[in-house]
């Protein structure tokens, strides 16, 4: 047991000292509640050794997260793009400070050698920085001044879609997580993330980073638990505007088509999992260079008209 404790803490303790373990909780509205259901489930490392008992979020926890995300969204979207960029960049600074912890967690959860886990963590932090720099550029790349045939000012610009649910990738527990939750944050969406079912620990640690960052409470909400239990109520929730189905691939008892169908009744924007090389359902290689399409998937183009005249 001493060995696992060591794997999940950054402090180097004397072998005889018994480590102080953490209670893993949800992150909703800037607070760390237990699941209202009182349930937890056991998470192990890649070799099946006990790592933690993690909160098993319920439908009700999911609904609470939607309320928190909705309440926080307008303020986040209302911040200037420059400010959102700074706030997100600050998160990357704090991720850097937790490097060792993330490396240990990624190595344990994904069964990677330390060297590879370090690469994944470095890539995740750099990716966070890449996205942070997009906040005040998206509108320039994705917007347009439209030369209409008449005396009108006509401008189109992207706006956040609103409340976005992210089913985080099942395999890539930090790089995949960062690659899916930051793009919607860039433009001012709030996010409810359903963490990787079997590898949720980096997501919980990330929520601790977010809680001490300048990202307002409720802008990111982290649910741990079973994807098959949490995805359906979130997909059909009327106050959720969009859903990223990345983590529907490889989740037990879930097919992404069913989740997409549940999202249809409220005309949600659905980002499907990208097909694998042979068209199969497979988690993508998250080390590939990101494109702004993931940001744009959670935006709405607004076009404003006004007459010109003296």
């Amino acid at each position: 047991m001493a060995r696992t404790t060591k794997a999940l803490t950054t402090t180097r303790t004397a072998p005889e000292r018994l480590g102080v373990r953490k209670t893993y909780k949800l992150y909703v509205g800037g607070k760390f509640p237990r699941s209202e259901s009182g349930r937890t489930y056991e998470v192990t490392d890649a070799k099946g050794r006990f790592l933690a008992n993690v909160a098993q979020g319920s439908r009700k926890d999911a609904r609470e997260a939607v309320v928190a995300a909705r309440a926080a969204q307008a303020t986040w979207a209302g911040a200037t793009a420059y400010n959102r960029g700074q706030v997100l960049y600050r998160v990357a600074e704090m991720l850097e400070g937790r490097r060792e912890q993330f490396v240990a967690e990624v190595a344990a959860g994904e069964g990677l050698p330390v060297r590879q886990a370090e690469l994944a963590v470095s890539e995740a932090i750099d990716r966070w920085v890449w996205y942070a720099g997009w906040t005040d550029k998206v509108a320039q790349v994705a917007g347009s001044a439209n030369p209409v045939a008449g005396p009108y000012f006509n401008l189109s610009s992207p706006e956040p879609t609103g409340v976005v649910v992210v089913l985080a990738p099942q395999r890539s527990s930090l790089l995949g997580l960062v690659s899916t939750i930051v793009p919607p944050l860039v433009t001012g969406n709030s996010v409810i993330v359903v963490a990787s079912e079997r590898r949720p620990i980096p997501a919980v640690t990330l929520s601790e980073v977010l809680a001490t960052s300048d990202v307002p409470g409720g802008v990111v909400n982290v649910l741990t638990g079973f994807t098959k239990e949490l995805a359906p109520p979130l997909a059909s929730h009327l106050d959720v505007n969009a859903i990223d189905l990345a983590g529907a691939v490889g989740a037990e008892g879930v097919t992404w088509g069913e989740v997409e169908a549940a999202a249809a009744d409220s005309v949600k924007r659905v980002l499907r999992p990208a097909p694998g090389r042979r068209g199969e359902d497979a988690e993508p290689d998250w080390t590939e260079a990101p494109r702004p399409q993931r940001i744009l998937a959670f935006t709405e183009t607004k076009t404003v008209w006004h007459p010109k005249g003296v």
């Binding site: 189109s156 409220s266 097909p275």
Partner: protein, 490 residues
Amino acid sequence: MTTTASTAGSPFEYAPAPESRSVVDIASSYGLFVDGEFTPASDSGSFKTVNPATEEVLAEVAEATEEDVDRAVRAARRAQEKVWGPMPGRERAKYLFRIARLLAERSREFAVLETLDNGKPIRESRDVDVPTAAAHFFYYAGWADKLEHAGYGPDPRPHGVAAQVIPWNFPLLMLAWKIAPALATGNTVVLKPAETTPLTALLFADLLRQAELPPGVVNIVTGARATGSALVNHPDVDKIAFTGSTAVGKRIAKEIAGTRKHATLELGGKAANIVFDDAPVDQAIEGIVNGIFFNQGQVCCAGSRLLVQETIAEELVERLKARLGTLRVGDPMDKNTDVGAINSPQQLARITELADAGTAEGATRWSPDCELPSSGYWFAPTLFTGVSAAHRIAREEIFGPVLSVLTFRTPAEAVAKANNIPYGLSAGIWTEKGSRILWMADQLRAGVVWSNTFNRFDPTSPFGGYKESGYGREGGRHGLAPYLIEGSTY
């Protein structure tokens, strides 16, 4: 035929100014346009299309079966792989320019046919529908050989076969919105026009013959809901573009869930047209009238909820009533007509049912004194005052010439009321204060915000909704995205 009570006997009475019907030849029957040829339906089935202003049968039109749809999709696939996809962009561009020019050349024919089949005033089909349709082809023609500069990567690729299902309110214009960007990007098309308005699409097929567009690049399958469903659910369709009701849009989204088909959905709306106490009132009145009575209110982005600042509500409603009294309702072929016929008895029944619900729920109903023609489908311009946000006429899309008037006190209240609805297609703002316009425009959750104007459309300007009004944009550079693999997110 065209009457307005308030002007009868006044010096401003208009003499009839009928457009000539003889400029267009309507065949007694039409087949499906598949692979460059007109063919009957596989089971020889057909339906009638009528002039909604007179109930006269205009033509018999083939009703495409699943087998016919399959034939059309195969033709489109062949044409995409063999001809249209490999064709250099600049050659595709020239075909589209040709189509734009042919539409302009034959504009009067198209305008008359549109008015006969749809019931909209000739003034609108002549001045809006047909010229804007031609402009759409002209705009997207120029994109066909510039796609690598559109912001979707160095070599953006088409999806393949686009299935397009369009509504009856702007039959030719919606056809143009759908076909022009699809062809410009190298997709081929199977298009299903609305059951009640198939004729301009079939005349467009004749225009394609003149343009010498290769067979199979555009296929037109007429029919009703079953035909549309067969098309959307055909396994070899790559991209779906649908304009119509939110209910059908949801069904389509559900049907294609779990497939790799991409979709653009342009669905319903319930736009708030917001008038502040400092608004330019004369312009606002014209904007309100245009917002809800243009095309008999059968417009997804119609300004069907008038939100008036409380201090000017009484005066504005009086002036609005005076203006409605001058609207000329009647013969759509008369060039003086402002408000034409409702497109179908089904639509008339829906408008009637919702307007009756308005009365039953306690709102006050008013219409100008106008005599409606004895045959055809008609609904007088109607105004409801004393409407609360909970009333059905404030929440549901009526798709008819019915305006619900609500009031507000502060800008924040106007925003809250405007946004408190599942739809988010369009909105209007009327005020002389620039900073307020921009603040309001930021707050409104709608894809198109018209300030001190309403119901303006342009091929360069992206159009589409937030929330349950659908997703994807049509028009402008944004309108290319859903037809390109690299541009598609949904």
